[in-house]
Every structure is written in C-alpha cells, then in structure tokens.
C-alpha cells in the first residue's frame, strides 16, 4: 500500500513534537552539528494592511510522486519503495555531491558531516511496513501531520493537503 504525508497548517502549533519524534527514531545528536530531517517553522508574515499572520509549519521530505532528487543523484542512491511509495535511499555509494539537495524544492536531503554522505527522511519506511506510524506522525497530538494510504488521500481530494503547504511556503507561481 502506498502512503501520502498530509499536513494541515490549521491544526499545527509548531510545537515540534514531530521533530522530537524524528530525533528519537533516528538517534539524532544535536552536538554533531547536523540538521534533523524534520523542521518546524513559526513565521509571522506581514500582510498588506500591516497586520501579521502567524504561520505554523512542519516540513520534511514530501516524498514527491515524481521526486527530482532521484534523477539528480549521479550514483543512483535514491529510489521509490515500490510498496510504500516513499523516497528511500541507500547511501553506500553516496559521493556527497549534494545534487539531490539542490534538486529538491524543499531542501530536504541533508549533508552529514561525520561521514560526508547525504541522509534524509525515509518516511520511517520500515515502521510503516511493520504497520506502525512514521515517528513524526505518531508524535503529533493534534492531527496536523498524518500519513494516509494513497487511495484515502485521493478520495479525500488531494488538491488540499500538500498544496496548502506549498502555498504557505510561497512556492506556487503567481
């Protein structure tokens, strides 16, 4: 079964439980200087009338259907897991060229200083295969971050969900 991450900014408070859940799952060490796979943002955006809009956002790899990082990798580290649809990787052959990060519109892949290789969110692929939720989704108390079967996502009208995030990030061509 393929899965889709769904983020609803109207339920998010940038509490960062998702980030901590990810850190726990991936044994994140802040002292390493590396960045976690997931990040939250609290942006106060000035509106035309001078007031401010508070945007609460959680972001990581979007597991794009047509993921540009896969094509960008010169040594074929990245691929789609045929079962879950997540963008997964095996960085054994990674040369640390950062092409994947540059190709990603979200800058999701991270360069890990300790071994000079790229790493990224794999959607907690093994957890999902074992019937568990991705760590970030499991940690979200408010239903802002979810991981739903593709059919369910499509049935619910896929126009919403991820696109809202893209709007929030101002990525849509005006």
């Amino acid at each position: 079964m393929k899965y889709t991450f769904v983020f609803n900014p109207d339920l998010c408070s940038s509490c960062s439980s998702c980030v901590i859940g990810c850190m726990d799952q991936n044994d994140f060490d802040p002292e390493s200087g590396d960045l976690p796979f997931r990040k939250t943002f609290q942006n106060e955006i000035e509106l035309a009338d001078g007031s401010h809009y508070s945007a609460y956002i959680s972001a990581a790899c979007m597991h794009c259907v047509d993921a540009p990082c896969i094509d960008a990798c010169p040594v074929g580290c990245l691929s789609k897991d045929p079962e879950t649809g997540f963008t997964v990787y095996d960085n054994t052959n990674c040369i640390g060229c950062k092409s994947c990060a540059m190709a990603c519109p979200f800058g999701a892949p991270r360069y890990r200083k300790s071994d000079g290789k790229m790493v990224k969110c794999d959607g907690c692929n093994e957890r999902v295969k074992a019937g568990l939720k991705p760590a970030c989704v499991k940690a979200c108390s408010f239903g802002a971050l979810q991981c739903v079967p593709e059919e369910e996502f499509l049935a619910e009208g896929s126009a919403k969900a991820c696109n809202v995030l893209i709007d929030q990030l101002g990525l849509r061509r005006k």
């Binding site: 339920l11 408070s13 508070s54 093994e126 568990l132 108390s141």
Partner: protein, 717 residues
C-alpha cells in the same frame, strides 16, 4: 543490510529484533498530566519512547517534552552516586560516598539541628515532580517539623485557595456539554496538549470560543471566534467590567444568584465602578469586543471557563483576578451546572479520578503544630487555607533568623531558580544553613550548593502510584534498572525513616505499604495494580462527575453559598488589608513611582509557555534545547524598531534588582511595551530580576508575569 538488520535499525519491536515494549509514564511536567508511555527497550536500554495507544488518559498522544523522554532520562548530567561536598558551597566540588555513609550523615546532621534549634528549624522542601510528596510530607511531620514546602508556594495553589474561599472548591470546564468556551489565558497546545481535542470538538459542533490572552497563540488563531488581546495584568478589571455588563443588560441568572450566592449587592457595587469606557482604557480592549465577549459568554450558555493554574496568579493582583473570573461563572449560573464548570475533587496527587483516598490524612495526621510555618506571619490567608510553607518568605527568614532560625534544608528536587532573587537565596543558604541535603536526578545549579547530594532515578526506573481521570489507578513498574547508583525518592525516604528510627511504622514499612494505606477501601491493592501494565478501573470510582451536587447540598463555605463576598477573607485580621471582594488594583502598584516608571518602562512577563520547556526541567535536554539553543526574550516589533533591535541581537534585560543577557526575537504576537522571557536558565535566570517582595498579598505569589524591566542592546566588542 539484511531485512532483520533493517528492522533493528528502524527499532521495530519483536522477538527477532530483541526489542521489547515496556510501559511506564512520563513525569516531566505537571502531575495533572503524566501521560502513559511505551518504552522500546533493547538490552536493558531505552531506545525509543512513544505514547501508549491503550492508555486511558493520553490515548497514544505525547507532547513535545514527553517525546523527548529518552533524551531526558539519559541526560549526561545525571547524578551517579551520593556525594559529599569537599569544596566551598557553590563551588561544585564533591567526593563520592556510599549510600550507607550518606544516610548516616543525614541522620546525624538533621538530628543535631533538631537538638540544637528544634525540629522546625529543618525545612523539608520539594520541587518537581510531585509523586513522592505524600511520603516527604509525612516524613517532615514525623520528624517533628511543621515546615513542609513545595513549588505550590508559586504554582497553582493560589488558584486553589481563591476557588476555596469563593466557592468552597474548584471546578473544571465541562467542555463536552458547553456551547461557549471562555478560554481565559487558554493556550493549550504548549501546556496541556490533550485539552485541544476538547476545543476542536466544541467548535465542530458549532460551539463558540472566546480567548483572552496577552499574546496571540495557536489557540487564538485556530479556534477563537473572539480574541481579546488584553493588556497584561488587567484581567481582574475586565472580569469586573464583564460582570457589570452582564448585570446591567439583564444577562445574569438572577434565580441562581438569589438561591445560591452570598454578597451579590456588594459585588454589584464593586462592578459598578467598572464601566465599559474605564475597562476599555485599563485593558486596552475596544468597548465593542468587551461587550461582545460578555454577551456571548452570558447569553450563549451553558458556558464553561478555563482557569489556568498559574498564568493569572503570577501577577500580584492575580488572586483577585481569578476570583473575579470565577464570580462570572456564578453570576451566569454556570457554576456546578452541565456545560459550565463542574467540581471534581482530586483523588490522589491533584488528579481527579472519581473516588477518595486517604492522601490528605496520610500527609497531615501527624502534623506536629509546634510553631507557625514559614511565611505564616506575612500571609495569613495562605496559612489559614493551605497546609504548606509559603516559601517566598524563606529568604527573609534565613537572613534574619525570625521568627525562628532555619538551619537545615532537606530537599528533593529543590530548584533555587524558582525563587525571586535566586542568587540572594543561594547566598543566604550558604551563609546560614548548618546542613543542606538535596536529592535530584541532575547536577543542577542548586545541587552545587548542597553539602550532600543524593541521586534519584526517573519515572521509568521506578514504580509509582498514579490516579487518572476516568476512575483509573495504576502502579507502574520500572522499564529499566535505575541508572548508576540512583534510587527512587520514596525508597530514600523510607530507608531514612528506618535508619533515623522515626516514630512511624507506616513510613518504615516502605512505599508500597504506604500506598496500600492511602488507597484502602477503593477495592484494589498495590499488588492488584501491579498485575496490569495499564491503569485499572477502580470499582468504586464514580465517573464522570455529576453536576449539581453542590447546588443540592450546599457550597463548602461558611455561608454554604457561592461567596462573591468571601467570609473566609473577612475573617483575616483587617490590618493585612485583604478585601473580601475581588477588588482590582494595578499589577505594578509597588513599582509605579515616577522614577521606577521612567527607568523601567517595559512590562516583563516571564514563563509564558513554549512547547519545548517546562520550568528549567528541559533546558538541558539536548533535543529540546536544540529547538531554541539560546535564552531568548521576545520583544514587540514596533518596540524593537524604536530601540534599533534586530532578531538575534544580544540584549540586556534589567530591573532594579538584577540583569541578564539574552538573545532578542521580534514578534507581533504581543503588544508594544511587553517583553516575554522564558525562565529557568542557569546562565540567564530571569527570576534574578524579580524582587523578593513583589508579591501578591493574598497568596504570597511573586509577580513572575507582571514586573517592570528595561532592555538595552549589548554592543559586540
């Protein structure tokens, strides 16, 4: 990688991976919560933590802090062994000693102070968390001292007392049956994550939400139909103004008022002094928004109100502000009514669970009563209503030795950073104590001042009794062995009771026997509870609380009614100037002389909750610290422009008594003139800015959330 290796890396529980899921609870934040956790354990070590789906309280959910439980448990600064001070107090030089040696030293030193000065010269103090408190409380009394004190002297108890002297008890919002939710200081997401679902459900069924706060929050953004962005410290005036609107417009439930309340005429006269224009000026709110909020709350009932434990009562006018808000509940007939606020007394350690335990008896039936507790002379209402020290007087009593000297402190989790003028307190402790013993999990700032330090273990390394909403009780089991040589707080206390040969067979019989004594009659024993990994439904528990019982049987006040005019306060010596009515006065009234006003024009509000922090407990948890690495104050963008401050600038925050250096973050979520600063940092302890006498005269609570300060940019050299 093989499939099995992949599963091990991904921490998938199972026999093949050797990863076992064991259950416990997270005790990082307030005991009002303490969510159930699944600890993934491999080779005796926790490798992952998540919320327990089957847990009747949190249903699998965990907050930001709880999600970091593993990182909290394995903090590098965990205390490892008992340690005896070898350097100067505060220097942090210790030598390791054995538990037996430590116990002998404690017995000897406490015994000596008792012999020389009397048992009351030993104060038994507690910080977070609270699970061991019944044992420590009883220990203190059996030892012979009246001076048991906790963080209740600055947290929640002010609200509890205000409720008691007004309505005889507190009452929680009945969200499930309300049409309107008055979210006074309600933020939810960062301090009470499980409460958000209740607001979501209310909104989904067409309910209305009013949020009153000094800052915009996710709650005000996501749920407020009306958001009242109020001037800090003026909530009491708003509540009285709303009272006037409700009375004048005929929205009050006069049948309820006549039948169930006392002192309405005096209360009405008080409200009359707060016409809309005046309230608008004080609160900084538009007249229309105040009117709309009062109307919605009073006419779209049933309406329930959020009463936060500390947001309001951390102003020196906060006790009365809370009373004034509670009064609105009676005025509109929402107190003890379905969909309003329904009393639900705590069963055990602040948790309501629909049955009674003998916790209070266990704590208090050995009270020696040989002197008045610390703070009693200055805060008579506190002394009359609460059976702990008001430790905001500890510093003065240490320094002056009056009314009697405090010569030893035996503390569990004591955190000097909780006290205003922290550095002065630590100095006074260094200079005046004969003995200071501290039990803690971590090598804290306060631990460096102790003569003897004992290592405690965390919630996942021990067993503990815990009640939960819904009529549940549990006794947890350790999921890992105590780290290093650490021990459970209650085992330390019961060991000491035996070694010191205290006159109490109960304490000497150990924690589990004490628990059995407290829960006797509920139909379950500790042995029964231990058979389950999950909380067990208590046979005699009645849940949910049924509204209307107090209306039927009478309020637990002297008049048997809801008291707009508090007879319990009227009983206090008038020379203390405590008003039986919830009068409003300025939250900076002791700092409003022209000179102080000019030199310290900003309103400092400390400790407004952020998701990753609770007091100082998580500042040294690396994952949580990484979310905001630097101590940071939040400054309104307009103020910042005026002062030439930019995001990330280093600034100095200062008051007449102290200064700290922090980073600056611009925000438009607070009004100009307000500065927010999170408390609890060693290197930037904002409580050093708060003078020891900036206290609410009713409760003794410090004005943590309402204090004059100033800010200046620190130029890089």
């Amino acid at each position: 990688m093989t499939d099995l290796e992949k599963k091990i890396v991904a921490k998938i529980p199972g026999e093949d991976t050797g990863i076992e899921v064991k259950r416990s609870l997270c005790a990082i934040c307030s005991p009002g919560h303490h969510c159930g956790v699944d600890c993934y354990v491999k080779d005796g070590e926790i490798i992952r933590v998540e919320g327990t789906e089957e847990h009747p309280y949190n249903h699998g959910k965990l907050c930001t802090k709880g999600s970091a439980l593993r990182n909290y448990v394995y903090r590098k600064d965990r205390l490892k062994t008992p340690m005896l001070r070898v350097g100067e107090r505060g220097e942090g030089k210790f030598k390791e000693i054995s538990w037996d040696e430590a116990y002998q030293i404690i017995a000897e030193k406490l015994g000596k102070v008792k012999e020389t000065y009397g048992a009351n010269s030993v104060a038994f103090l507690s910080g977070y968390c609270k699970w061991y408190r019944p044992i420590l409380h009883r220990f203190c009394h059996v030892f012979g001292s009246v001076n048991f004190g906790t963080d209740d002297c600055t947290c929640s108890a002010s609200k509890v007392i205000a409720d008691k002297v007004t309505a005889g008890c507190g009452a929680g919002p009945d969200m499930a049956h309300a049409n309107t939710f008055l979210g006074w200081n309600y933020e939810g997401y960062y301090s009470s994550h499980l409460s958000v679902a209740g607001v979501q459900k209310l909104k989904a069924r067409g309910g209305k939400v009013i949020i009153i706060d000094i800052r915009e929050t996710p709650a005000s953004k996501n749920y407020a139909d009306l958001f009242l962005h109020i001037n800090p410290g003026t909530d009491g005036a708003l509540a009285l103004g709303m009272g006037k609107l409700i009375i004048d417009n005929g929205w009050a439930d006069m049948e309820y008022v006549e039948k169930y309340t006392y002192g309405f005429e005096q209360y009405k006269a008080l409200c009359d002094a707060y016409p809309l224009s005046k309230v608008s000026e004080i609160t900084g709110l538009k007249e229309e928004e105040i009117y709309e909020a009062a109307k919605l709350y009073a006419t779209n009932g049933p309406a329930c109100t959020n009463y936060s434990a500390s947001a309001l009562v951390h102003h020196i006018n906060g006790f009365n502000a809370h009373r004034a808000i509670v009064c609105l509940s009676a005025l509109t007939g929402n107190f003890d009514r379905a969909g309003g606020n329904v009393p639900n007394p705590p069963t055990y350690l602040h948790k309501p669970a629909g049955f009674k335990t003998r916790e209070h008896e266990f704590r208090s039936n050995r009270y020696p009563g040989t002197a008045r507790r610390i703070g009693a002379e200055k805060f008579p209402l506190w002394e009359a209503q609460f059976d702990e020290t008001q430790s905001m007087e500890l510093l003065n009593q240490l320094e002056t030795g009056r009314p009697y000297p405090i010569k030893a402190i035996f503390a569990l989790g004591m955190n000097a950073k909780m006290y205003p003028e922290t550095d002065h307190l630590l100095k006074a402790m260094s200079e005046n104590l004969d003995f200071f013993c501290l039990t803690d999990m971590f090598d804290t700032m306060t631990a460096k001042y102790a003569d003897l330090v004992l290592p405690a273990c965390s919630s996942v390394e021990r067993g503990e009794l815990k009640a939960y909403q819904g009529g549940y009780l549990t006794f947890t089991k350790p999921v890992i062995k105590p780290l290093y040589e650490s021990r459970s707080d209650v085992d330390i206390l019961c060991d000491l009771a035996r070694i010191m040969d205290l006159d109490d067979e109960l304490l000497k019989s150990g924690y589990e026997k004490c628990c059995d004594w407290m829960i006797e009659g509920c139909g379950l024993t500790v042995a029964d509870l231990k058979k389950s990994d999950l909380p067990v439904k208590v046979p005699i528990a009645k849940w949910p609380a049924v509204p209307g019982k107090i209306l039927e049987n009478g309020f637990k006040t002297k008049t048997g009614k809801f008291e707009f005019y508090s007879t319990a306060i009227a009983d206090i010596d008038p020379s203390f100037g405590l008003d039986p009515l919830p009068v409003y006065y300025d939250s900076l009234r002791d700092q409003n002389d022209p000179e102080t006003k000019e030199n310290y024009p900003f309103y400092l509000c400390t400790g407004a909750r952020l998701a990753h922090a609770v007091h100082s407990r998580t500042h040294e948890v690396p994952w949580l610290r990484s979310l905001r690495p630097d101590p940071t104050c939040e400054v309104n963008g307009e103020d910042a422009d005026r002062l030439g401050l930019k995001d990330g600038d280093t600034v100095e925050l200062y008051s007449p008594v102290g200064a700290i250096r922090v980073k600056c973050q611009l925000t438009w979520k607070i009004k100009p003139g307000t500065i927010l600063m999170l408390h609890g940092y060693d290197e930037a302890n904002v409580n050093n800015l708060i003078p020891r006498n900036h206290l609410d005269p009713y409760s003794g609570y410090p004005g943590f959330k309402g204090m004059r300060c100033n800010i200046r940019k620190v130029e890089r050299k």
